[in-house]
């Protein structure tokens, strides 16, 4: 049984026009130490970065409706039963979470669809795979995310998968990726080339410059202009990623990280 509760402490976003981002309990709060208040999880800086983007968007245009609408979603029964503690912890940390979706393993992907989630973020690879199989764009967050900036949201599109899409991706997944790219593109356009709170990165790992070129063109047709492009042509990804510090990586329709 799923229940969705609004966070009355903060202003709600217009879900029709917003970019709906759902994050799991574990991503937001990490593990349960048994204290009254949950501690910070790996996605704290990510939450702050999303908030920074919203603030900057509203600065440019106070009646802006294309904003990030953030949902915290529980994905197991145990978390589902901790609704009070979750809400009070959110209040305690002053987190800008707009809604809480208390669901369990059996129906969390249903909740994602019901809430028209555009992007699902989790620390659990299985959860991202499940969500992706239902056509929801998903990405993994991990301890690397804690090292990212809270002043600028950096998203990496993994170009090799854009260019040579995995045969397993279903049409709904592909479409979810396109929709999100277009939304991000519009958000990005609200800012200039420099000093943007949102940075879009393309990275191709194995192909040569042609594959990066294709990725850039593909994203352009989706309405997304790219800030940084990195064509690795087989060079090790890890070290480049540690310089880039993206909050998360997107592969078309797939659930996040390769290697």
């Amino acid at each position: 049984m799923v229940s969705t509760v609004q966070n009355t402490d903060i202003e709600q976003k217009d879900a029709e026009h917003a970019v709906v981002v759902a994050m799991t309990f574990k991503a937001v709060f990490g593990s349960d130490d048994g204290d009254d208040v949950y501690g910070a999880g790996v996605a704290f800086t990510l939450l702050q970065a999303l908030q920074t983007v919203n603030e900057r968007l509203l600065l440019e245009n106070p009646s802006e409706m294309l904003l990030f609408d953030i949902i915290l979603i529980t994905t197991d029964r145990q978390q589902q039963q901790q609704s009070d503690r979750i809400m009070s912890s959110t209040r305690h940390h002053g987190l800008q979470i707009h809604r809480f979706c208390f669901s369990c393993e059996d129906d969390f992907t249903d909740s994602l669809l019901q809430n028209k989630v555009h992007l699902f973020l989790s620390t659990d690879k299985n959860e991202t795979v499940q969500a992706a199989s239902r056509g929801v764009l998903s990405a993994l967050v991990d301890h690397q995310t804690t090292l990212c900036s809270s002043q600028q949201l950096k998203v990496v599109f993994c170009g090799d998968s854009i260019v040579q899409p995995d045969a397993d991706i279903n049409a709904a997944s592909r479409q979810a990726a396109e929709v999100f790219s277009a939304q991000l593109g519009e958000m990005r356009r609200r800012f200039g080339a420099l000093d943007s709170p949102l940075s879009i990165v393309v990275m191709t790992s194995s192909g040569g410059r042609d594959s990066c070129c294709s990725a850039l063109r593909t994203l352009r047709t989706r309405g997304l202009s790219v800030d940084e492009a990195h064509c690795l042509a087989g060079a090790p990804r890890g070290i480049i990623l540690s310089v880039l510090r993206p909050h998360f990586q997107l592969s078309d329709g797939l659930s996040g990280l390769q290697d």
């Binding site: 080339a193 040569g208 410059r209 800030d227």
Partner: protein, 371 residues
Amino acid sequence: MNVNNGQTLSISGQDSTRNGSSSSRAPWEDARMVLKPTTPTRKPKPPKPENAITIAVSARVLFNMEKEQHIYEHQGMEEYIKYQVEHETEPFNPGPAFSFVKALEAVNARLRELYQESEELFDVVLVTNNHAYVGLRLINTINHHRLFIERFCMTGGNSPIGYLKAYHTNLYLSADPVKVREALEEGIAAATMFTPEKMKEVSDNQLRVAFDGDAVLFSDESERIFKAHGLDKFFEHEKAHENKPLDHGPLKGFLEALGKLQKKFYAKGQRMDCPIRTYLVTARSAASSGTRALKTLRSWGLEIDEALFLAGAPKGPMLEKIRPHIFFDDQMFHVEGAAELGTVACHVPYGIAQRVIKKGFMDKDASPSGQ
């Protein structure tokens, strides 16, 4: 033939034909290319960064972007980007580093002939502050000129230094002296490249690299003595310390890397025909202070093909005879002198010479960050 849709069917440069090996592809591979045009091209795979000698070049030294730079400086970033995107399919003309990069590719072609499996090759990486919107024009230009550059970093305004380290960069060339200084401070060999008004023609089958000695290959310790105490003291000091090797300078590592590749040619009996040649062009004199320089090189186990001791004479005319693809000096006076006579000269902003304010030259060094 110029295919600008991002799919090139050529192998790495035309250099393989020039060097005598007509095609490294067998006839059935040609057939495969015709039948399946979506197959990735038969270019050789880029070497792993830790095995290769990585040369990072910025967009403005690889290509001539003077007009665009002018728009950036006078009309701002947004106009600059707009202009670039509007002219996306127009390739840039070659810049000062272009012939150097072509010469590196020629050496690679010879190395691949002799050592098919080795990854000890030059790897050229484009490292630019440009946004990826401009990137498409750069990629189109690389395709147009058939350069073998498969790796790049377009940092969208962020510092390139972290990426230079990630690629184990052996040499970084940029038009921006601020970035070059930052790189040097991080221990990466780097130099600011200038465009001569008229570039002299250079060899297309032998890479020639010329180095100044003090504060480039060697530390600036002797230069300090000269600046503090004058020429006589300098001679005395160098004579007294003839057998004490000088400390190393920022470009010693690069000379070492070139030497390593040269030895690979010597091992295959190609010393007389080696496609890499190195030069020392120094104000030291052969009779006296030059000895310490040569002994230092020997103590490092490094060879240099030609050593030119000018005893203070201008370097420009000598370099004009040598025709190097690139020349490194720590003093702007020499860099400008070389450029005036058509040599592609690079400034290594290292050592005591940088603390001496030269009237008029400093303004020319400044360039906008973010480029």
